[in-house]
């Protein structure tokens, strides 16, 4: 098991080095194959690890690699923790990554920096695996920063474009603000538990006082909002759509943005000690889900709709964490990875067929031109809207059920968001694939063509997974479900559902009704039109003016302060102090110079005065 786990982690790194070492002359095909192959091997090994874990009596295996930081009382090993949670994460991360690598071979064909793309992609998968497999907080942090860095590189992939370069910086900076939270949490935990290894922290979590636990949870939440794009640090994700579409699919839908949720779920014993912290998490999650859904209804770029949709869906996951439904959050994470990656890849296929066009107003009627993209996209759309029996229905339903059990107002918010989700996704679907053809000028009169097999194969695989994903966690087969697999990690005893069967059916019905409502609304409004100012509120379109608010309150004042520092403080205070020392030395030297007057009699006088002083001293000493 130790070797398997280590190899899971290291294969993408091997792929990275293989591509790096072979120089720039390596053919595109080989680069793609090596990179994809490395991640695929990781996936296979993850399956092997799962099987091994299932047969292990104790489902918490620690694999020590080496001692990393032995300083005083702080002992941080470089070690991996293989348990149900980390294996689940590994599985879907490597699986979805492998499919996206395959897709990228086709999507990025002919690009100038083809090799660089796959290098960063492999490095990203390595960092993400490090994040989920680490058995202590600092090592997780290394992976955390690694995915942040790779995200920056990949978002700024087309760095010659100003908007892409600044989008990369924005993503990194927002992440960094969140990282402060994670660091503070680490300090708090070390201060009170004197250890940073997860298993040890969980043993002593019960001794944390409520105040400390709440502070730690809030700090962790700050880190999670940065990485997972929640309120108040979500503005970077829509801008990050400047990166190539496979990047959006992998990093900003399936993997990196789930890291925040993973962190919160991993630290569940600490969350258990702080009801206030959990309440805050739930409110943030619910609010983000709702706000992002409203914004998505007014976006005109296909990728921006999907970006805000991601923010909204992660809001659901965070909401689930807030009410203590950790397994439900992970289930939604897995299902979301399938259908959101599928949506993005499908959107990429559409963009690819329309020579790079992303504006919804210039699409339409693509149904008959894209025979493989259309049905797979349809599956994903139905899934995310929450139509049974697709995976989204089960996953979102699970979350909403648990929320209903703990917090009725937030449940109402969740249902409203579900209606909005169904609405904006249906709007997207209608504008892209149905209705009149508005793309003729973009394709210069030609018909759009379907994508090559390397791009459509992943679509098909993900579609199958989106359909069957619900089977992972059926509400009536608890012990053999995902929840049954994960619950022991969170200290829950696998128990039957706490709601009655009637309540469960009632909630399921509400979910279906909500989804159908949204669908019907979208179909009726958007039949035949491509723009509707009444339903595309500019307030929503401009992200509730959130970016402008940050700019006015934080951006501009800080720029002014920096300018002031540069104009005033730097030359006058700092330079002044340094040169002031020099000037003072010179002036004092010039003053002292006058002692050397050149007159011998004055020197003699000085000697006599010195003798007088000595005589006075002797007289005083004798008396």
């Amino acid at each position: 098991m130790a070797h398997v786990a280590t190899l899971i982690l290291l294969m993408p790194l091997v792929g990275f080095f293989a591509v790096v070492m072979n120089g720039a002359g390596l053919k595109e095909r080989f680069v793609g194959v090596i990179a994809t192959g490395a991640v695929a091997v990781s996936f296979v090994l993850s399956v092997v690890a799962l099987v091994l874990l299932l047969h292990h009596s104790n489902r918490e295996i620690t694999v020590r690699l080496f001692d990393w930081i032995p300083v005083g009382t702080l002992h941080v090993p470089a070690a991996l923790l293989v348990d149900p949670l980390s294996i689940t994460m590994c599985l879907f991360v490597t699986g979805v990554s492998a499919l996206i690598h395959l897709y990228s071979i086709g999507y990025m064909r002919g690009e100038k920096d083809f090799r660089k793309f796959f290098l960063y992609l492999n490095l990203f998968v390595f960092s993400m695996l490090l994040l989920v497999l680490a058995n202590n907080l600092p090592l997780t942090f290394v992976g955390w920063e690694g995915v942040g860095a790779c995200s920056y590189w990949l978002v700024s992939y087309y760095f010659t474009r100003d908007s892409a370069a600044s989008a990369g910086k924005k993503a990194f900076l927002y992440n960094r603000v969140g990282d402060v939270g994670l660091l503070l949490a680490m300090f708090l935990i070390f201060g009170h538990a004197h250890t940073l290894t997860y298993l040890n922290v969980f043993h002593v979590a019960g001794t944390l006082s409520p105040t400390v636990a709440t502070l730690t949870v809030l700090a962790l939440l700050l880190g999670a909002t940065g990485k997972s794009a929640q309120i108040p640090l979500f503005n970077w994700l829509p801008d990050a759509m400047e990166g190539p579409t496979p990047v959006s699919a992998l990093i900003h839908a399936a993997t990196m943005v789930t890291a925040g949720v993973y962190l919160l779920v991993r630290m569940s014993p600490v969350l258990t000690m702080s009801p206030d912290g959990r309440a805050t998490i739930a409110i943030i999650g619910g609010a983000t889900a709702f706000v992002a859904a409203t914004i998505a209804t007014a976006q005109k770029d296909i990728k921006k709709v999907l970006a805000f949709s991601t923010v909204s869906q992660i809001g659901y996951m965070v909401l689930a964490v807030g009410v203590g439904a950790y397994s439900a959050a992970i289930f939604l994470m897995v299902a979301h990875a399938f259908y959101k990656a599928l949506l993005f890849l499908g959107a990429g296929s559409v963009i690819h067929s329309l020579n790079g066009e992303q504006d919804l107003r210039k699409m339409g009627g693509l149904q008959k031109y894209l025979p493989l993209t259309f049905p797979t996209f349809l599956v994903a759309w139905l899934s995310i809207s929450g139509i049974p029996p697709f995976s989204g229905f089960f996953a979102k339903g699970d979350v909403l059920t648990k929320v209903f059990e703990h917090n009725k107002p937030l449940w109402v918010l969740g249902v409203l968001t579900a209606i909005l989700t169904a609405y904006y996704m249906s709007r997207l679907f209608v504008l892209t694939f149905r209705g009149t053809e508005r793309f003729r000028e973009v394709t210069k009169g030609h018909d759009p063509h379907e994508s090559p097999w390397v791009m459509t194969l992943p679509l098909v695989v993900l579609a199958v997974l989106s359909v069957l994903g619900g089977l992972l966690n059926l509400p009536w087969a608890h012990s053999s479900s995902l929840a049954g697999f994960l619950d022991p990690t969170f200290g829950f005893v696998p128990a039957v559902a706490t709601s009655s069967t009637v309540a469960l059916w009632g909630l399921a019905l509400v979910d279906v009704v909500a989804a159908v409502l949204g669908l019907l609304a979208a179909f009726s409004i958007w039949r035949g039109v491509s723009e509707s100012p009444r339903f595309e509120s500019s307030f929503f379109e401009h992200v509730w003016h959130w970016d402008d608010f940050y700019d006015d309150v934080i951006g501009r004042p800080l720029t002014r302060a920096a300018q002031y520092s540069d104009d005033v403080i730097e030359p006058k205070v700092l330079d002044g102090a340094v040169t002031g020392v020099a000037v003072a030395t010179r002036r004092s030297a010039e003053g002292l110079r006058k002692v050397q007057s050149g007159f011998v009699r004055q020197y003699a006088l000085a000697m006599v005065l010195g003798v007088a002083v000595i005589i006075v001293y002797l007289v005083a000493k004798v008396h």
């Binding site: 002292l592 110079r593 006058k594 002692v595 050397q596 007057s597 050149g598 007159f599 011998v600 009699r601 003699a604 006088l605 006599v608």
Partner: protein, 101 residues
């Protein structure tokens, strides 16, 4: 019975003071040398007084050597004064003030 030694010592101290004051105040190099001789004589007087007090010949031997050295010093010093005077036609030491900061 001779006069107590301290009287001669006070006399020597006053002579020394007068010589020092003259050294600091007069500008002519030659007068300054003469004041220097006054100071040396004060020292000689002190040595001889102590030689008498301690009943030891060493004090007088010291005076002997001081006189020899004083003679040598005056010789060389006046030689310097002559050499400087040739250039500047003035014996005022205030004019020799070029080594200054």
């Amino acid at each position: 019975m001779n006069v107590p030694a301290s009287w001669y010592l006070v006399l020597a101290a006053v002579l020394f003071g007068v010589g020092a004051f003259g050294l600091l105040t007069r500008r002519s190099a030659l007068i300054m040398f003469m004041c220097l001789e006054l100071m040396l004589n004060a020292v000689n007087l002190t040595f001889v007084t102590f030689s008498r007090t301690l009943s030891d010949i060493s004090g007088q031997a010291s005076v002997f050597f001081v006189m020899v050295v004083a003679a040598a010093e005056v010789t060389v010093g006046l030689g310097i004064v002559v050499a400087v005077f040739r250039r500047r036609s003035s014996t005022s030491v205030d004019e020799l003030s070029e080594l200054k900061g």
